[in-house]
Amino acid sequence: MIPSASEPHPRPPEPIVLRMFGIRKAFPGVVALDGVDLEVRAGEVHVLLGENGAGKSTLMKVLSGAHAMDAGRIELAGSEVAISGPRHARDLGIGIIYQELALVPDLSAAENVFLGREPRRGPGLVDRGAMVAASRRILQTLGASFDPGLPVRVLSIAQRQLVEVARALSLEARILVMDEPTSALTERETGALFATIRRLTSQGVAVIYISHRLDEIFEIGDRVTVLRDGRRVATREVDGADRRELVRLMADREIDERVPRPAARRGDELLRVEGLGRHGVLHDVSFRVHAGEIVGFAGLLGSGRTEVARAIFGIDPHDAGRVFMRGRPARISSPRDAIRAGIGLLTEDRKRQGLVLELSIRENIVLPVLGSMSRFGIVSRRMERERASKHAAGLRIKTPSLEQVVLNLSGGNQQKVVLAKWLACEVDVLILDEPTRGIDVGSKQEVYQLIHRLASEGVGIVLISSELPEIVGLADRILVMRAGRVVAELSGDEASQESVLAHAVGA
Amino acid sequence: MTLRRRPVRIAAVLVGACLGIAACNRGDGGAPTVALVLKTLNNPFFVEMEQGAREAADSLGIELVVQAPEREIDVEKQMQIVENLLQRRVDALLITPSGSREIVPAVVKANEAAIPVVVVDTRVDAPALEEAGARISSFIGSDNVDGGRMAGRFVAERLGGQGRVAVLEGIPGHETGDSRLTGFREVLAEHPGLEIVSSQTANWERDQAFNVTQNVLQSHPDLDAIFAANDVMALGAVEAVAAAGRTGEIVIVGFDAQDDARIAIREERMDATIAQNPREMGRLAVISADRLLRGETVPAEQPVRIELVTGQQTGAVEAPAREE
């Protein structure tokens, strides 16, 4: 069933710049990598594909010196190297964008791009001007227009992802690893990133690319290596590879990738937002969400979708407009008020806003509902375990046990924990901001099923997503935002990716 | 992963450290062990006391253990040290109490362990002692009230019975400091022309004395004299007065006759100090312990001579003048 890796090459092969042999890495209770081989050529985009927890990030961390491998061998341009740490890897010409963003929040974007390699002007003096100018140049090639002097703390997660990309580009590496660089980006930034990648590969840079968005793989990839459960199951040329076969190789089962949409059952009005505004950010945003309805929010990066969610949930103050729950005005000035009113928000930034990394999966899942599982302040462990396992079960979180600390999970599995947490919260209206960020193809289908089930149980869902197929496929109604305003409302049946995009860019 | 090695490593470090320290402290034969618990070892007064005690211990063949809390005011830590030494079954306990009343429970514990207690330098509060039913074998110390009077008479004489005086107090509630101030104030009260314009604590410390003096000089530029309840504070005052460019204009009197103070007096930056004799106290304390252990009795009160040190007779100072 596992095909051989040697297949005919249509063009003369470029020299091999990286070879990894028999890489093994185990964590307590988990063998993350079990003898993985990988071969990367100069100038190619080599895609790594695999389900959540398959070992993709771990393999790349071994390459970048963040993990020491238990066994195996690495060759760069034909000679064996022993990578001693992240610095050493960088000196060897290996650049990496980590899946979990690793920026210093209080430094500016430019300072982050050049952290540790600041351009100098005399001894000990940083050339700020040069730094900002260089960062701006790189960011512009990526289609980003924000000011590189801004502290990273105030940037959206997509903007931060671009800073990470810029940082990796500024390294001028010969081998560039990108671990889910587009998980928070919209089509536009993704397009700019791909143009940059093509420019780099034409200069002979090898790019190792990880993504759960299969469309991207066909667009940018040259070859693809599929990992499953810490083993390599195949390496293929992307040209001529069959999408369904790749998915089957990954998941070891058939998966129907179509997003199914059951007939909408629209119940009573749950959430009504009237004229929501925040100076300079949001203008006159109004909409309703009914029981059983999935309302999609589409738009480009910075169009204000996340800001709407934050304002409703009481994170940011708003200076105009009103929010009603079940027809009654809801006074929401903090997330606590919002949850009490029956609103939940799954935030886009799981690491910063979604999870307490040191706590276990169980503890994270029940965090918002712990109060209801306690008597006289004493928590019932039994209820906790029941609730946590009930909601984790549908999501296939890859872990030895629910007592595992979230820190130790793979990115996609962490995302599933955040999802489980909000499912366990059992609110009336659930706002999902990029709910499938970093989740693999198979699990995405399960998440979609879950969203449907919630809707059919009468929950009102607000879905924010940068993946157009997801929005168009799932939502009963789609609101398109641009520059802080709702510029169009399309019904799910009439909407297409093209029409949504056209409204989003204002064409 | 690496976690499993941690206990081993910490254990190795700790064992190594302890054995090393133990190795340096081996070698007790049959000699009696006497513990001297000081208020602190950050003050030359107590360092001198320790030296006197060591000399006596060496000549008498006594093993002397000297311990002190890091901070002079730490009564609780001093109590712990006493408890620990009692565990070690020392044969006699010599102590300079950090608190006149707070030490009483420690004395009780020593009594219970039948270990004789000799109190040095600072008196234990007599009523508290009585109330607890505790006993001490002897008190060795100088008469601080008398020393305070000596300082007061010196100031009165130098100012011709007329002038403004500032006082630097020690930590409030200390018998030693309180007695010195009592004697000093007593004499000043006899001279209607002498006025105490400021009396503040500098907690026995040099840097605090410097600051307090600077502040007093701001509010009382016409100050004529400063009395500090110990030399450490007096020396802080000396620096502050020098910084104000007024050395020689203000009479500064300290207490304890430390070497640094003697030097300052010889260089005419300071005027007088009261010589206690900590070395003698230490010596007497160990001798008393020795006699108690032989079953002899010692007097309940053993006063140590006290004297005024001025520019005319600063006594023998080993260290050559080298400051500033």
Binding site: E358 | P69, I73, P172
Partner: protein, 319 residues
């Protein structure tokens, strides 16, 4: 890697416990006076003072904060008790006054930090000075002595041969352990320390639970002051100086992260005992007090260094 905290002892504490046992073993070899029943009881009794303060400090540090005012609160609550007693209140009422004052100081810290949005370091630094100053003012700088034997039994009493302070300390640790592992308060304390933003977004009343940690620290400082007054038969306005540092040391040696979010009171207990045993051992060995300071400081540094190193490695591996 971090393991779930549900078991009484997990990896980190086992390490610290091994350190404590090794220290004891070394002292046992080094001096015949160490491993006697009376000395061991004595060590635990002495550790009770810092041990109890350190419980409150653990709560605060778990939320990612710090409390520099505990030592001053010890002094102020003691003086409050003393003043009330001197003024003629029965000793039980006076003790209640002392405990209330400690709790109020803690709540004051909590309010400054949550409502006033001051960094904990600054708020408690201020409280440290204010409380000390009030203690000195109330007492005129003098110790307030003389308490009935019934009160002093708090420090001198025994139950089944075990000194009362030891029992009190163990009871406080048991309650704290229960609070941290089994209650909302505990879970939220860890959650806030681990990720304050995510906790707020999960609907936790972050302000209230943060303030609670400082209130607990204040209350336990007051409890400590009761023990101290009973032990010395005197309430001292200068008591508790630098207790904050000893307490922080015990907490950190016990494996609690200064960044918040992870650690246990069991670790803190072991940390407090390590400090107590070390001081006791150095006294027994007759080590000079200069060298003692070096030894204590070194142990703190080494213990935390090893711990941080492992933690960093685990963390880097996980990210």
């Amino acid at each position: 890697m971090a393991l779930p905290r549900t078991k009484l002892l997990h990896g980190r504490e086992v390490g610290t416990l091994a350190g404590l046992l090794a220290l004891c073993a070394a002292l046992w070899v080094a001096t015949p006076h160490f491993a006697t029943v009376s000395n061991l009881v004595n060590v635990v009794e002495q550790s009770a003072i810092i041990g109890i303060v350190a419980v409150g400090m653990t709560f605060v540090i778990l939320t990612g904060g710090i409390d520099l005012s505990v030592g001053s609160i010890v002094a102020l609550s003691g003086v409050a008790l003393g003043t009330a007693h001197e003024a003629g209140l029965p000793i039980a009422a006076a003790a209640a006054v002392g405990l209330t004052v400690g709790l109020a100081c803690g709540l004051g810290n909590g309010a400054l930090i949550t409502l006033g949005r001051l960094p904990p370091f600054i708020a408690t630094l201020g409280m440290m000075s204010v409380a000390r100053g009030i203690a000195l003012m109330l007492s005129d700088g003098r110790p307030i002595s003389g308490y009935p034997a019934s009160f002093r039994a708090l420090a001198t009493g025994h139950v089944l041969g075990i000194p009362f302070p030891v029992i009190l300390m163990l009871a406080i640790y048991a309650v704290a352990h229960f609070l941290l592992t089994r209650t909302l308060l505990g879970r939220y304390t860890y959650a806030i320390g681990g990720n304050e933003e995510a906790s707020a977004l999960s609907g936790i009343n972050v302000r209230a639970y943060k303030a609670a940690a400082y209130a607990i620290a204040g209350l336990l400082s007051a409890v400590t002051s009761m023990l101290l007054v009973a032990r010395l038969n005197s309430a001292q306005p200068i008591a508790g100086i630098m207790y904050e540092l000893d307490a922080i040391a015990a907490v950190v040696i016990g494996g609690t992260s200064l960044l918040g979010g992870s650690g246990t009171v069991i670790g803190t207990l072991i940390g407090a005992l390590i400090m107590g045993v070390l001081r006791n051992g150095l006294n027994l060995l007759g080590v000079s007090s200069y060298l003692q300071q070096v030894a204590i400081g070194s142990v703190i540094i080494v213990a935390v260094l090893v711990d941080m190193m492992l933690r960093r490695r685990a963390r880097r591996a996980a990210e």
